[in-house]
Point group: C2
Chain length 315, copies 2
């Protein structure tokens, strides 16, 4: 969701958000390039129209979207933006994880962000601008700590229990009841009917409540997923040397997404921090108070000011 | 692929196949009901036309197709067939695994079949007609021993190695070279571009050759997959009591599909039998010499003769 924010230095903390617009999926990998572009164009036009602004009054755009996995993705989206905005507008394209990091660090690109919603990714930056990521490769490529991953493991456990390949579990009755199905076999048709990951990931609260009620199978799935998420963070922090040679330095870890939200008893986010603390005792977990789109706006401001100051100095 | 076979008792061993026709996917779960029905109608028409026969000369049809997971699937396909064939034709609809079993037992529904191609399923019958299945629920629901499952684990291992979450592996260079890609990140776009399971399952030979060359990651994936496949067979055999109270009885295990085909060194089928033998020492592995479609034709003949004899007796 793009935000139109008009920043002045003193306003940075009070967030002068002029408008806000929401749209559907803009990951070109999922919905195709044409639909992704249309969605992005439309939602930016909506945001401008809601605050009565025009493209000509825009100074900088930071588009932080999922599906930016490779420099060619970035270049393609930049060229779309170039077609839309006047040539003096500064344009920045980032993976959505970068905006999520910025939402927890007031726009500073330093530290690591862990997102676990429908999908999952860990993304990190050093103060001197090096970056690294882990996971975020989609369900086929093993994002097991994601909401999709957790739910798919729970559905698999139901099938295994039904087959006699795995222990019986409370997940069976809870999931079938949630989906309005009467037998485990019906899950096969249910998953084939609509392979949308978000639809499957929506079962995470059922898994959490089964684990909270003491179900061992659900408990193991959440523990394993927390370890998977921690291992993504560990890989990023290790590659970047984010906490120094001795691995004892402090670094911010921004945590975003439905899977990491606090639950009554079984808190996946807390478990992830517990796993990470074993390796990096001085991790500083941050649950952002603003949404990732605000992070993107902060990034646009910071990138813009950096370039602007450079130009001033070179005059 | 349907076969038109004209049986007489004495000919049963010499397989009087009159014609053979091949078509694309007819799993209604994957391609939708309309496309599945069109594919089946067309390929049956092709098989009849190739041997110069008409629908009116057909006595029995056994359609053994994937996607038959529930009695409602069977009923729906039976009603399609009813619209096509004259009312005196005997019609039988089965999961494709049943025909695969029959292809190894000359049409007798007794024992267990394990299929591991793009997907996987274990299916078994007792002599008194009880049946049970395990797995065969698709990739979301954990068919990890399938060709898709093996390849998805290998792709995940490449991403994990790239991220620093897993050990480096020969799979990286072998898979990237096979797919004509230059970096692990490009796998993300590659998997999103076409989520067809068969396209991913086609990487199994790469995994096998890496394991044969001594790669530990590939080796572990194949071992784990063999254990998964064995656990499906174990579940079916156990539920049906196929080898008696003491689990020491003999039972046929028909093995079908690309994953179970013999390889030079690393033979997944052999490893599966090794795992199963630990539980059921008198398992009798059978690798059928005829294709599953011949099993379906044998089934049609057996079902037809059973009903025909019943009618003769009741006259």
């Amino acid at each position: 969701m793009p935000m139109i924010i008009h920043f002045s230095h003193s306003q940075l903390q009070s967030l002068p958000i002029l408008s806000r617009a929401v749209a559907g999926c803009s990951n070109h990998n999922s919905v195709g390039e044409i639909a992704a572009r249309e969605t992005l164009e439309q939602v930016m036009a909506d945001a401008l129209s809601k605050c009565g602004s025009k493209r000509s009054s825009v100074r900088a755009v930071c588009l932080a979207v999922s599906g930016v996995n490779h420099p060619t993705d970035q270049q393609r989206i930049l060229s779309w933006l170039r077609d839309i905005f006047p040539s003096n507008v500064r344009l920045y394209v980032q993976n959505d994880a970068v905006a999520a990091l910025a939402s927890g660090t007031i726009g500073k690109l330093h530290g690591c962000v862990l997102i676990a919603g429908t999908g999952t990714i860990a993304y990190g930056f050093t103060e001197d601008g090096r970056e690294a990521r882990a996971a975020g490769a989609g369900p086929v490529l093993g994002d097991w700590g994601s909401g999709y991953g957790i739910s798919a493991q729970a559905l698999t456990a139901v099938i295994e229990a039904h087959d006699g390949r795995g222990p019986s579990t409370m997940l069976t009755s809870s999931i079938l009841q949630t989906l309005g199905l009467s037998s485990a076999e019906e899950l096969i048709g249910w998953t084939y009917a609509d392979p949308s990951w978000a639809r499957i990931a929506a079962l995470v609260p059922v898994v959490v409540s089964c684990a909270e009620a003491g179900d061992e199978v659900a408990n193991k799935i959440l523990l394993k997923s927390a370890q998977e998420l921690a291992s993504s963070v560990k890989a990023v922090v290790g590659r970047l040397g984010l906490c120094g040679q001795d691995e004892k330095g402090a670094f911010p870890l921004v945590m975003v997404g439905g899977v990491l939200e606090a639950n009554t008893k079984w808190d996946v986010g807390k478990e992830v921090i517990k796993c990470i603390s074993k390796y990096f005792p001085r991790v500083l977990p941050i649950r952002p108070k603003v949404e990732p789109a605000v992070g993107a706006a902060w990034l646009a401001w910071n990138f813009f000011m950096k370039e602007y100051n450079k130009e001033l100095c070179s005059r």
